[in-house]
Amino acid sequence: MRLTSTYFYEVFWKRFRRNRFAVAGGVVVLLLFVLSLLAPYITPFDPDAIDAYNVLLPPSSAHWFGTDELGRDVFTRVIFGAKISLKVGFVAVGIAVLIGTVIGLVSGFYGGWIDDVFMRFVDIMLCFPTFFLILAVIAMLEPSIWYIMIIIGLTGWMGVARLVRAEVLSIRELDYVMAARALGASDLRIIFRHILPNAMSPVLVSATLGVAGAILTESALSFLGIGVQPPTPSWGNILTSGKDYIEFAWWLSLFPGLAILVTVLSYNLLGEGIRDTLDPRLGR
């Protein structure tokens, strides 16, 4: 198994490298990680330091991205916002993947009425306009970053469940799984040892795309005033505070807007790239 997996990664990397968009996406994604981790060392400003006498200053050598409506340094807030926005994306997707994987696995592996019940549940959840559900729950509870992540996760697992289930169904009947079963391997062992590793690649793709989606959802919630709450900066709430000044303080919306755009784009390209690379049918 270990040998094959090294081989697998080698082949993967070779093919992945040829997709320049995906590589670019990957580089941006990595850069963002570094940036968000090093945020406090990159900028001399405190992201929450209000300076009421210097509000809405245009970009300058002191404030690269200008200042916002409370005189805070926009560059600093965008960098710190990266951390929050990525956190929202990752935690939400983590929750979605966890739920989706468990349900997909159980559903696909056991089949029968369990499968029926779970899949109908998936169908039902897919009928709701997800954003409506998120909006309803967050507005009625309280817009905290934790609720936002949890609710986005709780409403985003259905795709993963379907993917995992389909994968399980196709793997279950493969020779080596049958063999393992014949040798008396337990259900859990079969699931964790044989099925899960194989089912993970489509999940990886959907998780990558999910991070992008969650970042967008947070910005939409911020626009409605129930996203990440002040003073914590998120790209969504910086962009929202800039929307009133689009015409004259363009820097306040341009930079967070671009940050969201580039990040979401990168995650998408990366996800697509991984999918293409993993797809055996596309082999050249």
Partner: protein, 541 residues
Amino acid sequence: MKMRWGLSLLSLLFLFSLVACDSGGKTIRPVARKPGKPAYGDAIVVGTGGEPSNLIPILASDVPSHDIAGLVFNGLVRYDKNLKLEGELAESWDVAPDGLTITFHLRKGVKWHDGHEFTSRDVMYTYRITIDPKTPTAYADAFKQVKTAEAPDPFTFRVSYAKPFAPALESWGMSILPAHLLEGKDITKSELSRHPVGTGPYRFKEWIAGQKIILESNPAYYEGRPYIGRYIYRIIPDNSTMYMELKAGTLDMMGLSPVQYSRQTNTPEFTARFNKYRYPAFVYTYLGYNLRHPLFADKRVRQAISSAINKDEIIHGVLLGMGQVAHGPYKPGTWAYNSHIRDFDYNPALAQRLLAEAGWKETNSDGILVKDGKPFQFTIITNQGNDQRLKTAQIIQRRLKNVGIDVKIRVIEWASLLAHFIDKGNFEALIMGWTIGQDPDIFDVWHSGKTGPKELNFIGFKNIEVDRLLEEGRSTFDMEKRKRCYYRIQDILAEEQPYTFLYVPDALPVVSARFRGIEPAPAGITHNFIRWYVPKEEQLH
């Protein structure tokens, strides 16, 4: 769009609407166009963020509903442009020498929009339905002071009070409702709430849900037909969208934000098309503490918080200087305003000393003060849709962090804020605003008898001396005596700091330059709305 009457629930207002224009003071006189000749016709398009809830004024507590009602209905009296009471549906009135009885002589020949004649029966109905315990209204208090009300003939209405009640006359500015359409019916189920019939300068024409409300001029209005033919109230939820509509010329009037006023609207192109106005609004914004909460029981803590807040910084950052510091519940320059209040100025060192005296100590290194093992933490709530309050909250959050207090901010929709948080006393601190009434009576907000659920002293302020002064102040007509009462109240409030009074903002309305006849006055710009006009050659609609 007339004056707000006294301090009512409504006064917890939304600033983003036009309310703020209903006040007076200095004005930047815009570039003059030729006045042209007054002409009938055209329409004025006004933007609103929210849809009105109920067009029967006594049932609504939101600004959009009252904006519409103010044009459709009349009261018995109103404030003129110089903020003096004058007759509206009452042609005149007599006050008995003891001040306890007012006799209103109603205007004859006034017609409801459906042609029915206005009489004292309508006034009597309005009075009775307002004090009816079954009516869900927030405006009953002043009318409950009335001992007897009678209508000896169709054009006379008389009320007597058990004891002198200074705001009595003002309270009859309440919109009078049509008895012939409502009597004997359940007012909460009446279709008048979506299709009002009044006596005012504009008649209700149409309400397209979620889009607009259209009013047309009332040709039979007793003061004469208004020049502007239609009043169109457009519902535009997003403030940036509203501003773009204004710039595109599809909106004629809105309240500007300080940033829009000072930084975005100074181009020759803009000033040629619009007239901007600026004057102090009759509103103050405050940070109020829930005094029932143990955190704020100690006066020193409240004084410390006030000392930690830099009001000048807020006026600079949030209002871009377009406003003034508030030290108490009155507007600087009005007769009840005490200019010698000893307020707590910005002094973080004092704040820290006071907190230490009150037992709050820094015990760990997280920068947050602790007492009895509990960190000093609280949440400030404020209403959605008011950007100024949110920014204020953020500045306060930052300043309080500097002295070791951890503040969270929560923004809640208006109706929900009232119902779930304020009315239940379920909050720690809040940032809100009160309109400053023409009469200085502030009984409803500060008297200890008004701390019940749904009442306006929701912070639970109880002070025997203030109670006595409030009672004294409202039950005499002697100005000097009243002044002494209200001066003393301001001193006590400054010492107790149940609120940190923050600022009195400027109203910043903007109107398309094609509208003429606007006369800025102490009452703002809309006092003579029915005399605004657009010269024939410039009419658009």
